[in-house]
Symmetry: C2
Subunit: 319 residues, 2 copies
């Protein structure tokens, strides 16, 4: 199987079909429709074997995650995703692996009306880089730098689950609760990007980002971008039943330091919180306030009203 | 140096500054201006150490080439480049290496008014994936599938040089002509994407692609996309003085099978060839006809009016 055949077989018609794609996979570049009244929102994220997922992970999960982490970036901007490009570096062209990868990528792409419009494949160590493009009405994107003092901090869903799921996969965490373990592993392997809620949060949230590197690593970035400090009540972090069952006293550490949840962290003026919460409820998504933005340049963590020093730190490469 | 510092120091202001970038590096995604009357043209290309360039290559060359291969894709579409995203996977964060890489990338970006608007960095085997976006007036992009029977085939510049330059770097080719060797190595290390000529070819060329995998590998793709065959007079391939001096009787093989030239291959109706050649001349670029598109589905190679079987094949991964 050469490169051309590989692309033709697995990637030439992956994801949704879209009328705004004039030319997709197969030429030197894709040709896509531009529009005056929308801003183009674009992001790229790469996942590397042994770094962002355990070596030997299921190909379908790798395909899903490579797109999910990018959809999550657009969700954090309030953007509606449209087009993806895939740069796939892999050691060899195994049909079973490629089938699984394309299935995981394609299912999630179709669920979000995303079309794969280009990319390349290369022989080399397994690395999956996805670039995603989407749209917001002009000027409405949710940025990190829009929060004001007194805005509430809220997170979607529950946090820490994916970190515990990864720890279970790596056997640094163990449990007898097979159902809870399965649930946590699925949270790592098949994260749900909060695209619909990101779109719904436009005009209500003042700032947003997605939680990829853990709350302790990510929140300071949002606060710094908005030139503010923050206060978080650690006892308010939303922990799933499965995480509590499996991680016990470590659940809070996973919620603070575990990455890969791909939930959204939002800042919202108190007067608009009820409206935002009702949009979350309409999507069957919980939205939990965990603190607020404050003047200053540090993030203060409190547990039972006392200062708390997280025992964990967010994920960073090159440290 | 953590990831945040690395991005801030090397990549937060790389390339040109552009007014159509509402938000660049540093958030979850970039926010870019859309326009009704232009089509968005987007491509991604990845280069992997030991695969697309020798291990230990100069970092500045790697930075240059990672962008050049993508600019070349836009050139082949007749698109004016605007925005780039960079996904950089590298074993460790060495300041000297990053300085060189950013310099090579940045110089070429500024020369083409391209702004780096996003990306990510990851620890892992050296892999550089660049995604590029640009524009053409609606409906004017040069596609591979627009050629007609009887259209002339033309290539810009000279071909085979980069392949010979790589062979010199890998010591599978040797020479006493240091000046010629230096010239060929520069052609590999610092290819010149034909962006201005691609733009100039809009409305004249009927189809175009860039030569990245060698004429023998690439031409059949253009012919197939246009549902045609082709005839090439191998004795008309434009060979540089340096290639002839260094490669001797192998020069033709490099021109047929050597990759990485990033010259353009164009189809042009005979009646429009003079106009296209004059636009090339205005850019100080040679444009050489090498054959024509014909009915059928095979590419016929001829030397001194006799059928010729190239001894080389185009580059392909996974073969």
């Amino acid at each position: 199987m050469d490169e051309f055949e590989l692309i033709h077989r697995y990637f030439s018609r992956l994801g949704a079909a879209r009328a705004d794609v004039f030319l997709g996979v197969g030429d030197d570049a894709a040709i896509l429709r531009g529009t005056d009244d929308t801003d183009l929102v674009a992001a790229v994220d790469t996942i590397v074997s042994g770094r962002h997922f355990p070596e030997g992970s299921d190909a379908r999960s790798i395909g899903h995650r490579s797109l999910a982490v990018n959809l999550s970036d657009l969700a954090a901007m309030g953007a509606r995703p449209a087009w993806a490009m895939l740069s796939l570096t892999l050691p060899q062209a195994e049909p079973d692996w490629l089938d699984g990868f394309a299935r995981g990528f394609g299912e999630l792409a179709r669920a979000h009306e995303v079309m794969l419009v280009g990319g390349d494949t290369t022989a080399g160590p397994l690395t999956v880089s996805v670039q995603i493009m989407g749209h917001v009405p002009h000027g409405t994107a949710l940025r990190r730098d829009g929060a004001s003092e007194g805005d509430l901090l809220a997170v979607t869903g529950t946090i820490g689950d994916a970190g515990a799921g990864l720890a279970l996969a790596l056997r640094t965490l163990a449990t007898h609760d097979a159902a809870a373990a399965g649930e946590l592993r699925r949270r790592f392997e098949y994260p749900t990007p909060r695209v619909e809620f990101g779109v719904a949060a436009r005009g209500l949230a003042s700032a947003a980002m997605d939680l990829s590197d853990g709350l302790v690593g990510d929140l300071p970035k949002l606060a710094a971008a908005s030139a503010l400090g923050a206060h978080v009540d650690v006892d308010r972090l939303p922990l799933s039943r499965a995480l509590r069952a499996v991680a016990g006293s470590l659940a809070r550490d996973f919620a603070l330091g575990g990455g890969d949840d791909y939930e959204l962290l939002l800042a919202v003026p108190p007067a608009r919180f009820a409206a935002l919460a009702s949009r979350a409820a309409a999507l069957n998504l919980t939205l939990t306030t965990i603190g607020e933005l404050r003047r200053g340049n540090t993030v203060h963590w409190a547990l039972d009203s006392r200062s708390y020093a997280p025992a964990v730190e967010g994920y960073s490469h090159f440290r």
